[in-house]
Every structure is written in C-alpha cells, then in structure tokens.
C-alpha cells in the first residue's frame, strides 16, 4: 500500500500545470534589472510581507543571489481542511537569481518553501533585451503548479494557475510603476507623453481604482467568512 501511495504522489508532483506569458517593458534592460531589485513595495504587492537577501556572490562575472520572501497565503474556503491548526500565517518563498550583465539576462526562479504538499508553485522569469527593440525589455514568465493532495489535484491546480495569473499581472504592473518612479520622473504630469504610455497610465489608474473596490468587497466578505491564513 505504501508503494502505491508513493507512486501516486510522485505522478502528481510530476503532473504540473504549466503556464507561460511574455510581455514587453518600454525601458532598457539596465533600468529593468535595477528596478527588479527595488520592485517591493508597490501598490500591487500588498501580498508581499517581507523580503530579505540570504546570500549573494559574484561568480564568473554573474551575480548570484538567494532571497527569502514571505507572502500572505489566502486559500479558498474548501482548501482549509488541508491545513492543520497552528500552521504559520504566511508562505515562505525562495527566489534564486542570476544576473548576467554581459548577455544582459536576469533570471529568477521562485518556489514556495512551505505548504508544498498542498500546492507547489515554481516560477521562472527571464528579463532580456527585446528582440523587437534593443531599448526595450522582454519579460518571459513560466510557471509550474502542482499538488500532492490526491483527489483535489485538479481543483488545486486550477485555483493555483488562476491565482498565479492574477499575481503575475500584478507583478508586471508593480514593476512598471517602480520603473516610472525610478527612471521616468514626472511622467504622470508630462504633456509630452507618447500616446501608448498615456494609455497604459490611464489603464493603470482604472485598474488601481477597480482593485481598491475589489479589496473593500473582499475585506467585507472575509470579515463574514473568517480569513484563512
């Protein structure tokens, strides 16, 4: 029996749901690389509670870092049964990264340290020079979501991918805001903005307003239901 259970878990772990998306930022790679380190806090990163550098070294002209992030970890109501009482209120997330200033690539690999049996989310992001315009930066995000909760794997993966998509959208928006703050000072009041940037800003403002409304609604709902983690 033990062998059978082990077999199921291994298969479940291997059967990850995969998601990928590429976006383009209209800042050069050097600016984006600097902003990635400074992306927290931003108005879209409310779920990120802390950020620490655990180790860092330059090897073969590349900068290698390990960082520890803690994030809130809200699960849907049906997910509560998987958590023993007394589990920590936050998810610990590891971010390994390599910056290659010659090839101009910044690669991060992020994975959750706890709750891995319930849901394991691994993300690889590569920031590189856009092939369309060398003054722009391409952001390629890939994610693998898996679970070992036999019987709930599909549901958890579905929830995980959905949440991942929302969070990666927030990550892109947050990074754009930080880029604006660091390098495009006064952009929001400038009358010489390019139309495409204006459009993004308007969209951004609308999104912030919408999110604020959603947050209020969610807070109300959570107060009623009681929040998990």
């Amino acid at each position: 029996m033990q062998t059978q259970t082990l077999g199921v878990n291994t298969t479940a772990y291997k059967m990850a749901r995969y998601h990928s998306k590429t976006t383009v930022l209209q800042n050069d790679w050097d600016q984006v690389a600097s902003a990635v380190w400074q992306r927290y806090p931003n108005p879209h990163s409310k779920h990120v509670l802390s950020e620490d550098v655990i180790s860092r070294k330059v090897e073969d002209n590349k900068l290698h870092s390990f960082r520890l992030l803690t994030k809130t970890n809200h699960l849907p109501k049906w997910g509560e049964r998987f958590l023993p009482s007394g589990t920590p209120r936050f998810a610990s997330v590891v971010e390994e990264s390599v910056v290659d200033p010659v090839a101009k690539t910044f690669t991060t690999f992020t994975w959750n340290l706890n709750f891995t049996r319930i849901m394991n989310v691994r993300e690889k992001v590569v920031y590189s020079v856009s092939p369309e315009n060398n003054g722009w930066t391409q952001v390629h995000r890939e994610a693998w979501v898996s679970s070992s909760m036999y019987g709930f794997i599909r549901a958890i993966q579905h929830f995980g991918v959905d949440r991942y998509k929302k969070n990666s959208e927030k990550a892109n928006l947050g990074l754009q805001l930080v880029l604006g703050r660091l390098f495009n000072k006064g952009q929001e009041v400038s009358s010489e903005q390019k139309p495409v940037e204006k459009k993004i800003l308007l969209k951004e403002k609308a999104k912030v307003a919408k999110e604020a409304a959603i947050q209020v609604a969610q807070q109300k709902a959570q107060q009623k239901q009681g929040t998990l983690m």
Partner: protein
C-alpha cells in the same frame, strides 16, 4: 521593504541602499568587485539569520541551487511557442 525580522529593518535599508547603488553604478557598468557593501551585508545577515531561526525557517533550505541544474523544471513539449500565452498540463521532473 520590510525584513522578516522587524528588528533588522534599519540594517536592511542601509544595505539595500548600498547594494542598489553598487548594482547600477558599478556592476552593470563592468566593475564586478563586490566588497563595497560587505560590512553592511554582514551586519544585516547576522540579524536576519537570527530572525529566520526564530520563525523556524531553515537557511539551508533557501540556499538550494536550482537554476542550471537537473532540478530546474522544463517547458512541456505540448506548450505553445513562448511568445504566446499558454497553459497546459504536462509531466515535468
């Protein structure tokens, strides 16, 4: 941004400031000597490692190299070209 241990916040801020300046003004410009922020880093490190211990987070667990190793997950063969958004279920190892 806050540290996992609130008592480390000031040390983290000082180190971050030093690092961000070094990263954009030295490292990206070709100067790879990395000792400029070491004293600040050491001070901050001893604080944060103590805070992690108190929160039961193991430092060795964090420093696991995945990138460039066999543990790095691969794109499933069924996924669409990388320029498109894609979601699929496939085996990874």
């Amino acid at each position: 941004m806050n540290s996992v241990g609130s008592e480390c916040n000031d040390m983290k801020r000082d180190y971050d400031q030093c690092f961000n300046k070094w990263f954009s003004e030295k490292f990206l410009k070709g100067d790879r000597a990395d000792e400029a922020c070491t004293p600040l880093f050491k001070k901050y490190q001893s604080c944060v490692k103590k805070a992690m211990k108190e929160k039961d987070i193991n430092v060795e667990d964090v420093e696991r190299t995945i990138l460039g190793t066999n543990s790095e997950p691969q794109k499933p063969p069924s996924a669409k070209p990388s320029s498109e958004e894609s979601t699929s279920t496939s085996g990874t190892s």
